[in-house]
């Protein structure tokens, strides 16, 4: 190899290394920023202290404290455990196994017994008397939905419906939703490709309304909010929490949602005929 060629080769190797190094730094930075945006450390810290100090102050008085609390400002749904030893642990409801809870120990009262409880609802009640302090979940309330002009999306909407349960009840439920939504400019499809709206029903674990999305967050947020509000209109005392979270990568429905313009996996505990009506009404409201 000639001297000039050797130098050129060394230079190429060096530039490749620099390129890889720069790529690693940029990738790490994007990863860090992405994690920081999804991170709930601040809000776990904030709520554990706020709720703990309210409990501490409430136990000081000799009257009754009855307070409605709303936990809204976190990127992901939070829940907390309250213990009789005057400790509160706030954690992420979805990824609780990945993230350690944030603990806060506060000054209690020898006379007021703190009732141990787990609160996973958005709204809860703090009730403190001279004898006991109690935190209890409250029913979910209707939200004002994100404003977006989604009426213009009603242009030959191709819909895909599915469910992960092979029970006759759920089949009937899906059929009812499908029939309720079949109208001019809206058609159902058997295939997952080229779909405008996908709705998949899965079994939920508790009395909550859980939604999973893959992309197009703002439109899915509006759609989920409208479905949630309609369900709450119909069943005002049934649900305690509602969550909209990104579908896990290992979910069998990930691919299906990826293929659709907007799409939600809806997890409910009970799929009765009565639940189908508000879901249809929510989707209809979304399309105006």
């Amino acid at each position: 190899m000639k001297k000039g060629e050797e130098k050129l080769s060394n230079k190429l190797i060096f530039y490749s290394i620099v390129f890889v190094l720069v790529a690693v730094i940029i990738f790490s930075m994007f990863r860090f920023v992405s994690n920081a945006l999804d991170d709930t450390t601040f809000w776990r810290y904030y709520y554990s202290r706020d709720i703990g100090l309210i409990a501490s102050m409430g136990q000081s008085g000799r009257g009754t404290l009855d307070m409605q609390y709303e936990m809204v400002n976190a990127e992901k749904p939070l829940a907390f455990d309250i213990y009789p030893n005057n400790t509160i642990q706030t954690f992420e409801w979805i990824n609780s196994e990945k993230n350690l809870p944030t603990s806060f120990v506060f000054f209690g009262s020898g006379e007021t017994k703190l009732v141990q409880n787990r609160v996973a609802s958005k709204y809860f009640n703090i009730f403190i008397t001279p004898d006991k302090a109690e935190f209890t979940s409250e029913n979910l309330r209707k939200d004002s939905c994100l404003f977006l002009d989604t009426k213009q999306d009603l242009k030959n909407v191709k819909m895909y419906f599915d469910s992960s349960l092979n029970s006759p009840d759920l089949e009937n439920f899906v059929k009812t939703v499908k029939q309720g939504l079949l109208k001019p400019k809206m058609a159902s499809s058997k295939y997952e490709q080229g779909i405008d709206l996908t709705i998949i029903f899965i079994k939920g674990a508790e009395d909550s309304i859980n939604f999973f999305y893959d992309h197009n967050l703002r439109r899915n947020e509006r759609l989920s909010c409208m479905i949630k509000n309609k369900l709450l209109e119909k069943f005002p005392d049934k649900f305690f929490a509602s969550r909209l979270t990104k579908i896990p990568d290992n979910s069998i429905w990930k691919r299906t949602l990826e293929n659709s313009d907007i799409g939600l996996v809806i997890a409910l505990k009970d799929y009765s005929f009565e639940s189908a009506v508000p879901i249809v009404a929510g989707v209809n409201e979304y399309y105006g």
Partner: protein, 168 residues
Amino acid sequence: MSTMDDASEGESKWILEFIPKLIFLGIAITVIVVFTSLLIVNNVNTSNLEMEVFFNKLMYSSGGISYHDVDTGRIYMGVIDPSKLDHNYLIQSLPYEGKRFAAKITVYHQSVYYPNESSYLNLKPFTALDGPSGADTLDRKFTSAYVNENGQVVDNTPVEIEIMRSRT
């Protein structure tokens, strides 16, 4: 030929000088991002509020040191009950299982420590330190009425309450 070699040598030198710059850039960006996120997370500083809550519990709650009439349920603020100036009583009436707090309550030359004297002595030197390794303090001095061991009310008794909380 010698001109070409000089040019290559200059380029190699530039390339070598580029390496530390690149490493430094990476470190600087990482430090900025990490510090910004730490600053945001630690923006919720409730240290002073926690000490205020403790002070108010100590003075105004029935489990505090003020005289509490159990028949009427009234707390006589400004009258210190000597029977409550006891460290076992304070631990039971104001339970706290954390390790961040210590307090010294001095009434009429009688001092009581919360939760205990060793915690107070351990935390005391850290009050002189700045930064996360230090401790915050809240000092309150006032005069109060005090019922002494003979049952006599002594007015204008000096009361000093010193509360400390470690920052980490």
